[in-house]
């Protein structure tokens, strides 16, 4: 969009507003024809329309506005009476202006039509007649004087560009008791508003100080007035904030035009829906999101939505749908750009990432879909044109992301290949004053923006954190979250044993745990910038002045999360060379590597509840079984060598125990030592170690690693462990398991069989459909989502739209619980959604659906 078009767009927006005012005004006038205030307002509006259309050279419109203005001025000055015919012709004029505006919006030029010219002549003549009438009634001198005066006044005002319209607060003299269309808005310099905002910030700080001081003195009167001061301050702050708020519609309304133009030039058909245009945002943010949004919309049309002929071929409606949606969620505004275009082919990103050298081959094939999609936001990726053409999106996405993050927001991309893409932007309502959680490290306070806060947990670090390699992890409902210690990041050497408060933070993309000394209440803080000396420290986004006048640094969660990135990358780098894996679309997992004698074993960390060292002499024999007493609990110890064809664990002074907990029952697996943790995909090789309890093997760092099936081992140790019902009681149910990862396919199959189900397995959606075509009598389908050939989304959709299979319940399984994915699969018709590693929940879900 060029500069002129921008102005034109502004003109159109303003003109439409004007028309609304006119229409409302005339309705008001019907009720009271002598209402001078309404007439004044109508005159002003018409005058502005005249001026603006004259500026653009829209002669016809200018003329219509001119004559209408003339008539209105006579009405206002009481020179003529608001007879039926006068109102009629003015309403007609409004209709024509409306028509012209619409035409200009579509064609950028005025319409040249006979009927408009005819009306113009009619209007002009009508005005002449009125003028004659006026002359007969009174001298023209008085009228001219007044007119000039008013015009001068108006011109002054219209000159002040870039002013913001705010609600008028001052009281207006009400001359007439009847309903009035008074001027409810005045224009105020934005600078003045900014200044007010700053002052309000200072006032909040001063108030906080007074409140603290007043707490030292017990005086009822004092505390009452402080309370009043406090309330008024809050109200002032909120009110001033409101003056800066503008509906997002001011940005959204620019898009119909952009979309129409772009679609036309690309030969595409796009239907734009605007939702939530009334959602309000701070004006500085409104300004700042304009460009990123334009970029996203352009991308969606350019690369997302297919040409009409292609859409028809693949059974989509000819017209693509693009939705711009805004809504408030907590203290944030969410903006979504959703298209029903072709989506993004993650596999192509993977290939391109390798070609571009952004990822090594090993990295690329072990990357998850989310990781690959995040590459779109990398600078190197976006500039590569050919990537854009193939992958779908990417030009300047790094810039978009940077801009959004600068605003303290986050951006998220969701796509279903073939179905469309949704980009979700979350931004704070306002930049200047934000709610934040105050935490401490050592003697100093730090503020964490509420927007990044997920939840607060009190933990026992020594028991509940897994430290493997350099990274600590916390298990939160099946999800493994890396944990940072604030004191370590800040290198302030806080006392470790004090740190029990875990703050779970979100960057919008990932979760990070932050262990802090203390947590205080949430507070409204005023964000102040830090000097240039701190610009390259990523973990701060500013500072704030606390109630006692002392300072607190504001933590930048995205910056903090980079500290996790470094250590995970380090671990990955270490194993990069040695890790050889097959191409797979499977997500990567954190795997714990441990030794039993000379054998190396592996388990997903998420399956282990904790690990600890135990002295050999603490292992006791009780009831013929080895047990240890751990934290006042008797925990049976399992030696893998009793169930697997491996050598006996050599005697050691001290062993490592891996604890495994399910349904309040805990057992421990004895091992010689922990090797490390790595993040890899779980596509293991089968065949060589075909033995119950082993799911497969993989060469890692030049060593064969056995992936053990912990459920099978425990079952071998104690068949009653999981409280399995007697098999005769269960009617045999048949389950179809669709899963490409050997590890999960075998593990889930094993534990389902243990539960008494009959399980058939296939490796992807396509194979599953082939299986169903032969035999459709399955009681339940469990499907992974990320699979080659045909993914789970497509598979669910097909099953649910095929009459033969639609009644078979489907449970979708993924590595991590994600609300977005849950919504997506349930929308597609799936009956349940579970996390792969959560055996207990999956079984409950199966029972619910099967029973």
């Amino acid at each position: 969009m060029n500069f002129d078009e921008d102005i034109l767009q502004d003109f159109l927006v303003e003109a439409k507003e004007g028309i609304n005012n006119l229409e409302e005004g005339f309705v008001e006038l019907e009720k009271n024809r002598k209402n001078v205030e309404v007439l004044k307002s109508l005159f002003r509006t018409m005058h502005s329309l005249k001026g603006a259309s004259g500026f653009f050279g829209f002669k016809t419109m200018e003329s219509i506005a001119h004559f209408s203005e003339d008539i209105l001025s006579k009405l206002r000055d009481g020179l003529i009476e608001p007879e039926e015919d006068v109102i009629d012709i003015l309403l007609k004029a409004v209709d024509y202006i409306k028509y012209i505006i619409k035409f200009i919006e579509e064609n950028k030029t005025e319409p040249i039509e006979d009927k408009i010219l005819d009306f113009l002549v009619e209007l002009s003549n009508f005005n002449e007649v009125l003028n004659k009438k006026v002359k007969e009634v009174s001298g023209e001198k008085r009228f001219e004087e007044i007119k000039e005066e008013i015009e001068e006044k108006i011109e002054e005002e219209s000159e002040q560009e870039k002013l913001l319209v705010i609600e008028k607060t001052e009281e207006k003299e009400i001359k007439e008791t009847s309903i009035e269309l008074i001027e409810t808005h005045v224009k105020v310099d934005v600078k003045l508003l900014d200044q007010l905002m700053n002052l309000a910030g200072e006032l909040v700080l001063a108030r906080n100080r007074v409140v603290q001081l007043a707490q030292r003195i017990i005086d009822e009167d004092l505390s009452r007035s402080v309370q009043a001061l406090s309330m008024i301050t809050t109200e002032i702050q909120e009110t001033i904030m409101k003056t800066r708020m503008q509906p997002i519609g001011t940005v959204f309304n620019k898009f119909p035009r952009i979309v129409r133009d772009l679609a036309k030039s690309l030969g595409k058909k796009v239907n734009l829906h605007l939702e939530g245009t009334e959602t309000e945002l701070d004006r500085s943010i409104i300004e700042a999101i304009k460009d990123p949004l334009t970029h996203l919309v352009r991308n969606a049309i350019d690369h997302g939505i297919e040409p009409p002929e292609v859409r028809v071929q693949i059974g989509k409606p000819q017209e693509g749908t693009l939705i711009l949606r805004a809504y408030q969620e907590g203290g944030q505004v969410v903006i979504e750009v959703e298209d029903d275009g072709k989506g993004i082919d993650v596999e192509k990103i993977r290939q391109k990432a390798i070609e571009k050298g952004l990822l090594s081959y090993e990295e690329a094939i072990s990357s998850s879909e989310k990781e690959l999609l995040s590459l779109i936001f990398k600078p190197g990726f976006s500039t590569a044109e050919n990537v854009t053409q193939i992958s779908g999106r990417g030009v300047g996405m790094d810039v978009v992301k940077a801009n959004i993050e600068k605003l303290g927001g986050s951006i998220e991309l969701n796509t279903i290949y073939g179905k469309g893409t949704t980009i979700k932007i979350k931004i704070p309502l306002t930049l200047a004053i934000i709610p934040a959680l105050i935490v401490t490290s050592g003697e100093y306070r730090y503020a964490i923006p509420q927007i990044n806060l997920k939840e607060l947990i009190i933990i026992q670090p020594e028991r509940e954190l897994l430290k493997i390699g350099n990274t600590e992890f916390y298990r939160l409902r099946g999800e493994v979250i890396p944990v940072l210690r604030l004191s370590e990041i800040l290198k302030t050497n806080g006392k470790k044993e004090n740190q029990k408060n875990l703050v779970i933070l979100t960057t919008g993309e990932k979760f990070v745990g932050l262990l802090v000394d203390k947590i205080f209440a949430s507070e409204e803080i005023v964000v102040k910038p830090l000097g240039k000396w701190f610009k390259n420290i990523p973990i701060y986004s500013g500072a704030t002045i606390m109630g006692d006048g002392k300072l607190a640094l504001i933590l930048d969660v995205v910056g903090l999360s980079q500290f996790v990135g470094i250590s995970v990358e380090e671990v990955e780098k270490k194993y990069e060379a040695a890790t050889k894996v097959k191409i797979s679309t499977e997500e990567s997992y954190f795997i714990l590597l441990f030794d039993i004698g000379k054998e190396r074993m592996a388990l997903p960390i998420a399956l282990i509840s904790r690990l600890d060292k135990v002295k050999a002499n603490k292992i006791q024999i009780s009831g013929g079984k080895e047990v240890i007493v751990y934290k006042n609990e008797v925990v049976p110890i399992i030696r893998l060598e009793n169930y697997l064809p491996i050598e006996k664990i050599p005697p050691q002074e001290e062993y490592i125990i891996l604890f495994f907990t399910e349904k309040d029952k805990t057992c421990g697996i004895l091992c010689s030592q922990i090797v490390d943790t790595i993040e890899i995909t779980l596509n293991v090789e089968e065949g060589i170690y075909n033995y119950p309890g082993i799911l497969g093997h993989k060469i890692i760092e030049g060593k064969t690693v056995l992936f053990i099936d912990i459920y099978k081992i425990i079952e071998m140790y104690d068949p009653e462990w999981f409280g399995i019902k007697k098999k005769e009681e269960i009617k045999k149910k048949k389950i179809l398991l669709v899963e490409d990862s050997t590890f999960f396919r075998n593990m889930i199959k094993n534990y389902l069989q243990t539960e008494g189900y009959e399980v058939e397995t296939v490796q992807n959606g396509k194979e599953a459909l082939e299986k169903l075509a032969i035999n459709k009598y399955f009681d339940l389908i469990i499907t992974d989502l990320q699979m080659p050939e045909m993914d789970g989304f497509e598979f669910i959709k097909i099953v649910k739209s095929t009459p033969d299979y639609e009644k078979i319940p489907i449970i979708a399984i993924t590595p991590l619980a994600e609300e977005e994915t849950r919504k997506k699969v349930l929308e597609l018709g799936a009956n349940g959604y579970e996390v792969k590693l959560d055996r207990e929940k999956l079984i409950t879900q199966i029972e619910n659906l099967g029973g």
Binding site: L490, K491, W533, I537, I545, L551
Partner: protein, 160 residues
Amino acid sequence: MELVKREEGFLEKKEEKKLSISKSSTVVTFYLGDFLFGIPAEKVMEINKDINVTPVPLSEDYILGIINLRGQIVTVINLAKKIGLDKEIVPKLGLIIKKEGEVPISFAIEEIGEILEIPLSRLEKPPENIEGVNKEYIKELYQLPDKLLLILDVEKIIEF
């Protein structure tokens, strides 16, 4: 607008004055260890006794931290460290330095000295080597009867 104009006028007048009266400069002096330093008075906004500095972990070692100066976040520079003084200094005062159109910054110093009027003609270029101080931050020298005054290059110090 009016205020700005007045200020500009004021500045002009000041410069004129400087030129007419035997070309001298007013210098605020202060101590760091055994050294006596000077900063042109027009660059100094105030002397701040608030040494309640909030440290900013991970920042450069010559940054002491930040303070709250009437609602502004002011960075405090450990001047001794910055100019390579090899002696450990305990900062007791903050010399608030004006910055054109920006938030001021603070230099942590030990003790404030006299305010001197120095004739420009008696200022000397610093020698190749000054023991115990990084020479690049010293702009000029002035020989006092009993001591050497080192005039600091403020721009150089606050340049990032």
